[in-house]
Amino acid sequence: MPAPPLIGYTHVGKTFDGGRDAARVVAVDDVSLDVAEGEFLAIVGGSGSGKTTLLRLANRLIEADGGSITVEGEDVRNVDPILLRRRIGYVFQSGGLFPHISVAGNIGVTPKLLGWPAAEVATRVDELLDLVRLDGAQYRDRLPHELSGGQRQRVGVARALAAKPRIVLMDEPFGALDPLTRDALGDDFRDLHRKLGLTTVMITHDMTEAILLADRVAVMRGGKLLAQGTPAELTGSSDAYVGELLRTPRRQAERLGALLPRDGAA
């Protein structure tokens, strides 16, 4: 018998009030999806396809209005949402660092909420700064606006990992970065994921990134889960949209191959 999923969505739905006179928006439509322990799952899909909503349902930043969600075997409705959030790391789409709190304070916020002794929090902060390759002496006391965009996103990742969660949810953590940094940060995180034995769900727009980093990829469109599986499994999908999504990286790679001389030599 396979191990129970660490995160399990069963026929989950979420509808938003569209505002004053707009129609109601079905953001997540009857989604069933399991994430196994130790797995790295990427969610891809167009803008507005319901990726962020799906992720937030897991730590109850948004409450589902249909179906059920389990985290570590427990139905999230039976768990205190505050405690649930403290044991799930979350990286926000826009960074979400507290602008008035230092880098160290931002990273240490959840451990502090959990009541760790101050000395332990400080040690942990330094560990994490190391982990995301930021020089502690230099950055610990800076405010977020004194960092570059990439450094901010590293701090966002460090904050998500601070309280030693088993689960990390990441909403476009490497967006708005130059390709080199993005690549490096992605690889770094992939290593962390393996080293720390995390279970990671990462949202991305970028199919290439999803294929390179994730064990499995889930494709969302219009609130529905179109397909899920390893990149190899997905190539066999009969869905036209999924096929198009998967062909894009290869087509790009081929065009690049044709345009750029081999080995970078002139």
Binding site: I82, G96, F98, H100
Partner: protein, 519 residues
């Protein structure tokens, strides 16, 4: 002459510890109360649209009420409350001075604090709020560690605005009996002591600036996580409060308080009474610039111990009689009425401050006019001027009924200008005040009132119920009774309206005592 060698500057400085101390205490208390109410209200209301609208609307309405009116409104309100509390719970409280001033000013401070706190909290980025939730904060933790710190600059701007408003408006609390820097301004305006007016305005402005800067320092310290700056600001405010508490705390609490209304004669008389009490070894201070509706109630409740009022004023305004009685009868009835409230009518000072028809002496002699009755046949070719309320007062109706007097024209004028106007012949007759010093200055004559159409306005000394059996007080005041004749009072008033160092109420009161004490 050097502007600052004027002795009134040093007199103003001598009052500073008392006025400034009271001013700071009332402002700081009002601001603290205002913050204690507004901040929680703003936090509760920030996510409730209906409550938010109602609160901001109410606070805006309060803000449109002129400061002077708001302060004045709190006085009768508290008076009624005090009476209720006395009959229901068996204890009353003073509706005079500190309490109404603090309440009105606190109300006044609410709008900027409410508005800026709500705006500041609503201005916090939704993504940041979500992050606070996402890292596992409770709503309270989010409020105190994220929302309030981020809203702080906007909130502090509101608090600073409120502080400056409160300190400025506190100058208007003088007429309801709260000593403040406004005492300089009210007294100065009445006695044409521009040094006092200027000094009061400067002191209030400097105080407002200082508090604003200290608050800015605290804000800056909090924002930049500089404990030192925040501490300096906090210590500065604390020091300011402490410094103003010390001199007033050390003053003896058992001192007698002499009340004065808002015109020159009252400032002189209260200074005179205070000087007599001090000469008798009692400690005494003046509470000046009290509104004429406030001062009687202040005496009843014992907030002031003694003051001078006028028989006709009490008769008509306080006890609402519309008939006019001969002076002795009126005084006797007044004395009996007052005694029922346990107020002592100690006696008359010896002069009246009544309305009177006044014209230049030479002209009156030429025309053979000595009384209002003589005026009747000349009136159709003459003009009369009076202050803004005279022609609608019962005195005027009474005069017309008794003497006719079909004047060719009636004009209304600023009282200060009337005397010059009649002296220069611009108008023929004015309705002046019998004790006004300008009557002597312009050589005017007060026409007799043989038919007693104008009620008597004898200056009378009143003593508070709680001092009813205070024989030391009575003895100290006895020498003033019946001693101040109209000529002496007029000259004193004229001196007090002068623009120099010898014209302060204290100096004039000493002059007056020299003059009457010798007889």
């Amino acid at each position: 002459m050097n502007l600052f060698s004027d002795p009134r500057w040093s007199e103003a400085v001598a009052h500073l510890p008392d006025y400034l101390g009271n001013h700071v205490r009332v402002s700081v208390t009002a601001l603290a109360l205002g913050l204690a109410v507004s901040l929680p209200l703003a936090i509760i209301a920030r996510n409730r649209a209906v409550l938010r609208g109602a609160l901001l609307g109410l606070a805006s309405i309060v803000q449109t009420v002129p400061g002077l009116a708001l302060l004045a409104l709190f006085y009768p309100l508290l008076l009624a409350l005090a009476a209720l509390s006395l009959s229901w719970f068996g204890f009353g409280f003073s509706a005079f001075g500190f309490l109404p001033a603090v309440l009105a000013l606190a109300l006044y401070s609410m709008l900027p604090v409410l508005r800026n706190t709500i705006t500041g909290l609503q201005g916090v980025d939704a993504a940041i709020l979500e992050a606070a939730q996402g890292v596992g904060m409770t709503p309270q933790q989010s409020l105190f560690t994220v929302e309030l710190p981020l809203a702080l600059p906007v909130m502090m701007a509101g608090i600073r605005t409120a502080a400056v408003w409160v300190i400025g408006t506190a100058t208007l609390s003088t007429p309801i009996g709260q000593t403040s820097l406004g005492n300089y301004i009210f007294a100065g305006l009445q006695t044409q002591n521009w040094v006092f007016v200027l000094f009061g305005c400067l002191a209030a402005a400097v105080l407002a600036l200082a508090v604003d800067q200290l608050l800015a320092l605290i804000e800056n310290g909090l924002r930049n996580r500089s404990r030192i700056r925040a501490a300096i600001g906090g210590v500065g405010i604390a020091a300011l409060v402490a410094a103003t508490l010390v001199p007033t705390m050390s003053r003896s609490a058992s001192s007698y308080i002499v009340g004065a209304k808002t015109f020159t004669e009252q400032y002189v008389l209260s200074a005179l009474i205070a000087q007599r009490l001090q000469a008798a070894g009692l400690s005494a201070s003046s509470r000046e610039g009290l509104g004429s509706n406030v001062i009687f109630d202040a005496l009843v409740s014992g907030d002031i111990d003694v003051y001078v009022d006028y028989s006709g004023t009490l008769w008509a305004n306080q006890f609402h009689h519309s008939d006019i009685k001969p002076r002795e009868v009126l005084l006797a009835e007044l004395k009996a009425t007052l005694a029922r409230q346990n107020i002592t009518l100690l006696g008359e000072l010896g002069f009246e401050n009544a309305y009177a028809l006044v014209m230049p002496r030479r002209r009156a002699e030429q025309l053979g006019i000595r009384s209002i009755a003589d005026l009747a046949s000349r009136a159709p070719s003459m003009s009369i001027a009076a202050d803004y309320e005279f022609f609608s007062r019962p005195e005027w109706a009474g005069i017309k009924q008794a003497y006719g007097l079909p004047f060719r024209t009636q004009r209304q004028m600023q009282p200060d200008f009337m005397y010059a106007a009649v002296a220069s012949g611009e108008v023929d007759v004015i309705a002046g005040y019998t004790s006004d010093g300008l009557i002597a200055k312009y050589d005017l004559v007060v026409l007799e009132d043989p038919r007693h159409a104008i009620p008597p306005y004898d200056a009378i000394m009143l003593i508070a119920p709680k001092r009813a059996s205070d024989s030391v007080l009575r003895e100290a005041l006895q020498p003033l009774l019946g001693r101040i004749n109209i000529a002496a009072m007029r000259e004193a008033n004229l001196r007090a309206a002068g623009g120099d160092g010898a014209s302060s109420p204290d100096a004039v009161a000493r002059w007056l005592w020299d003059k009457i004490g010798k007889r």
